[in-house]
Symmetry: C2
Subunit: 337 residues, 2 copies
DNA sequence: CTGAAAGCGCTTACAG
DNA sequence: CTGAAAGCGCTTACAG
């Protein structure tokens, strides 16, 4: 059943059927009713690919995620998704599993006009390429921020958040503070490390390079790196972990080593994934406004797709220090200025 | 830049360019080289929507998920995704957030030919409708199983797994065993409740209806339901939770009530999400082969898309009882027959 | 091995 | 307010 069949049954032209579907206000009430009756009767569904082909837009957007199983990204995705659906867009998920080649493959979908735009939640490809793509297609970078990159971006200020996390430990009297970073080819890892450094130096605490351990973004890695740290001659009394999952690995390592948290080892995470409140003791962490980041990113993407001008390109949303039990501070919430 | 432009530059017909791209073996070596050179030189990318329109297939499949933030489903998704990509298919994600209307909307993508097939990881719509769709479009139901439904299905045997989980508690000497179920409009909830009943009755343990609490599929709900159970005059000594997230809520409730796990309250979960091994004490649970379920489901979908016959429609994969610390049994792994 | 031509199912500028 | 007609960019059956 195609449009011309419906047209015949309703005694109108295909053009009219098309209008009833896409611009009903252009059609008289009676004609509209006549056509709609036929459509309902035969349960006609327009062939969307034909429409996409004709209008040269797919009403689909691509979201490139480094790890779909991550609790953090799935929340950002929700924000993107809701905004997308509200505006008639479908979301295609591109899970790269941290593989730059798969990232490139997904970006191909833009070139092939399979999607109208793209939200990157990760960017391993280099700045120039990114810039080039952004010049030709609607695109937004979310969660990460690249200095000097002329692409619309939504994220928190990771450096300042990391500084704040570290300072929280300093304020609680810690000096031997370790940092378990993520892989250094991820911008976020470098940013959070910067924040850690700033906090330490800002308080005249020398940084012991043995206290900086590069790990993977996993629970297991958090466990392993912590075990290494605890085996040092002068083990740290506190750990700032790149994210909550790593922090939980650190918690497990502490427990397995017979150390009580927070008394013998304080731990702070990053992201505030749901699990952070479930573990025992509750994990102190930096909350990212995950859903809001997703929404804002999609909003910026829609503007580009609709050729609206974007005055501001860099959006920095607020984080929040969530104090639970793993650092020993009294429980409260401190908002970020 | 379109195909005809490439054709002109290479001094061939558009048909030949098309062949070079889709059926290179039909083109002579020299012509092929000539065309490929031009393609590379001008960085031509075919317009995929045009191709989709012409060939009437999109090379996209839809996966309908009830909750994209769930650790369980994201693993199943990975399995689907890998299988899909290996066969040249893209995955569109339909997150219903347990809303039957959004489920129906996504199913519309099939009718509109926007996708070549669909994997349902949830089915709230009724059996007849499901059957009807399956008769017209490639479709697979995964994770859930509907009795008497003539649609390819991949899942574990939830009833027997739930029975096994309950029996694990019985074997450890428990008689006052509670079950926190999921919402009763979800098939899986009903199945697992059935398994619980079978185990109890099979061991001549009377079922106290107060011991069966219906909750939502969340940590919070697990917490609340457990608090209710613990407030009973004769509180249960063990809880079988519908899934791990609920079980972790139960753990938290036990701790907040000053009960030690497993000595004063034993808890068993379901799914074996990653978090189950991270919590303290480690959560005893039923492992579902999440990745394998996803792969198998996609495999069945591909068969349908390619019009291969499916001899067997119901695939039941093996679960596994994972013994950790929350039930007090010695740690080991018992495979399911 | 290659080309000319038809056609996939819509939408929209144009004319009336 | 409505219709006739062109055309979006490919693929493929057919002919040579």
């Amino acid at each position: 059943m195609k449009m011309s069949d419906v047209a015949k049954l309703a005694n109108v032209s295909p053009a009219t059927v098309s209008r009833v579907l896409s611009n009903p206000e252009l059609v008289s009430k009676e004609t509209r009713k006549k056509v709609l009756d036929v459509i309902n009767q035969v349960n006609y569904k327009p062939h969307i690919v034909a429409r996409q082909f004709r209008t040269q837009e797919t009403k689909m957007i691509l979201v490139v995620v480094p790890d779909i199983t991550s609790a953090f990204f799935s929340k950002v995705l929700r924000g993107i998704e809701h905004m997308a659906i509200d505006h008639g867009y479908q979301v295609i998920l591109g899970d790269t599993e941290h593989d730059i080649n798969r990232e490139l493959e997904y970006i191909n979908l833009l070139h092939q006009k399979q999607v109208d735009g793209m939200v990157l939640l990760t960017a391993r490809i280099d700045k120039e390429k990114l810039q080039d793509i952004s010049a030709h297609f609607p695109m937004v970078l979310a969660c990460e921020y690249m200095d000097g990159l002329d692409v619309p971006t939504v994220s928190i200020d990771n450096i300042s958040s990391a500084r704040k996390a570290t300072e929280h430990l300093i304020q609680l009297g810690h000096k031997r503070i370790a940092h378990i970073t993520g892989p250094m080819n991820i911008i976020l890892s470098r940013d959070r490390l910067k924040g850690y450094r700033q906090a330490m130096l800002g308080h005249d605490i020398p940084i012991d390079s043995a206290y900086i351990q590069e790990g993977e973004l996993t629970f297991e890695s958090g466990y392993d790196q912590t075990m290494k740290l605890l085996a040092l001659e002068a083990p740290p009394t506190a750990i700032f972990a790149f994210n909550d999952e790593i922090a939980m690995g650190a918690m497990k390592a502490a427990k397995d080593s017979g150390l009580s948290i927070p008394n013998e080892l304080a731990i702070i995470g990053f992201d505030n994934i749901k699990m952070a409140m479930m573990v025992e003791p509750g994990l102190t962490t930096i909350d990212q406004p995950k859903y809001a980041i997703g929404k804002k990113a999609m909003e910026l993407l829609l503007k580009q797709i609709n050729n609206e001008s974007i005055k501001k390109k860099k959006f920095v949303l607020k984080d929040e220090l969530i104090i639970r039990q793993t650092c020993g501070a009294e429980q409260q919430t401190v908002s970020h200025v």
